[in-house]
Symmetry: C2
Subunit: 188 residues, 2 copies
DNA sequence: CGCCGAGTTGAACTGAATCAAGAAACGTGG
DNA sequence: CCACGTTTCTTGATTCAGTTCAACTCGGCG
């Protein structure tokens, strides 16, 4: 729980009282490998904060899966569009390893919005974080070829490359596993 | 100004007093064709609400421009990453036609955050809107081929296709003008 | 030991980029 | 309002990066 406080208070001010209020509604959950935090077609009811484990968000398209995002400890994960709109999600959120998460539900967050001073600022922080992430990814896709996207990813998340099956990484940077394999030995 | 109120109050509650406060800091500006609301390398100090005209956000890459976004009347436009982080932007925001915008500066928005009840909710609304937009775009790029991206765009913004030079549209959907031309007469 | 998923490698294919040239549309000044 | 120059669009030929299909290897696990 301190991990979450540290993460949030780095981005915004949270008073003692507000934090008490928030603590009331934040819940903890152990996750087994391959468990789903959310399945396509369901409505996302939570935002998760990853304490431990690695997660993946993906869309099941015709005949293939498309990886949209990975989640690592000390970051949020959610089918956030579905969460915001409270409409069925078009993606799955799945644990690649066993892990542990904190989460807050949509309705509890609404409560926080109304009951605490920092509520909306909290919601704003979520939204801004999610936006900045997507925005960075967009720029990467628009301006860089696959190889550079891979190298950047490698720089930013060197551990990722070890822990995650290459086929997911390939999909995440928008290429096939074969193409990734070729990029890899082009670089050696 | 009513246009902005209508737009916002559709998404959140704004009290009479808060709106008065907001009105104090919202400014209006006439824009000439080809004027820049922001140039690459500068820090985005505003969020704009488009009253009239069409705008374009683009990145100047090595040897080519990449269109990231268009802006139409009754929507917000800004180099929002730069705005949030208050760091130099890597994109330009330019008017494709003459037009008119409302805007609020970063520091004025901070004032609104502290002075009004709905401040943070307002910031949250901005962030959520921007996020949902990017998210939709990401999904489109990951799951659809260029031709479908074009057709979807055509459905959603039929007027866009008439008003905006094809080369910008091509760039926006991630292809060359030549490829767009071929898509167009493949469909007739 | 044999199976299965993941990764690699090769060959053929394909959609889009690039290069190039000509046609059409646009706007700017006389 | 026309004429000229610039920008945009189109079309064709060629090239290329990445996909697809397919076969083979490797490593973990029942």
């Amino acid at each position: 729980m301190e991990a979450l406080y540290t993460f949030l208070s780095d981005k915004m001010f949270i008073s003692k009282e507000d934090w008490e209020e928030i603590k009331q509604v934040v819940q903890e959950q152990e996750i087994c490998k391959k468990d789903f935090l959310l399945q396509q077609g369901k409505i996302e009811k939570c935002i998760y904060f990853i304490l431990d484990g690695v997660f993946r968000i993906y869309i099941e398209n015709i005949d293939k899966e498309i990886t949209i995002d990975f989640g690592f400890p000390n970051s949020f994960i959610s089918s956030y569009s579905s969460f915001l709109k409270q409409t069925p999600s078009n993606c799955n959120v799945q644990a690649l390893t066993k892990g542990k998460v904190l989460y807050i539900t949509h309705s509890d967050l609404e409560t926080i919005y109304s009951k605490t001073k920092c509520g909306h600022a909290l919601g704003r922080t979520f939204a801004e974080e999610f936006f900045l992430y997507k925005s960075k990814r967009e720029e990467s896709f628009m301006t860089e070829p696959p190889q550079e996207r891979y190298l950047k990813l490698f720089e930013e998340q060197p551990n990722l490359i070890e822990k995650i099956p290459g086929k997911y990484i390939a999909s995440y940077i928008g290429i096939t596993p074969q193409a990734l394999s070729r990029i890899r030995n082009r670089i050696y």
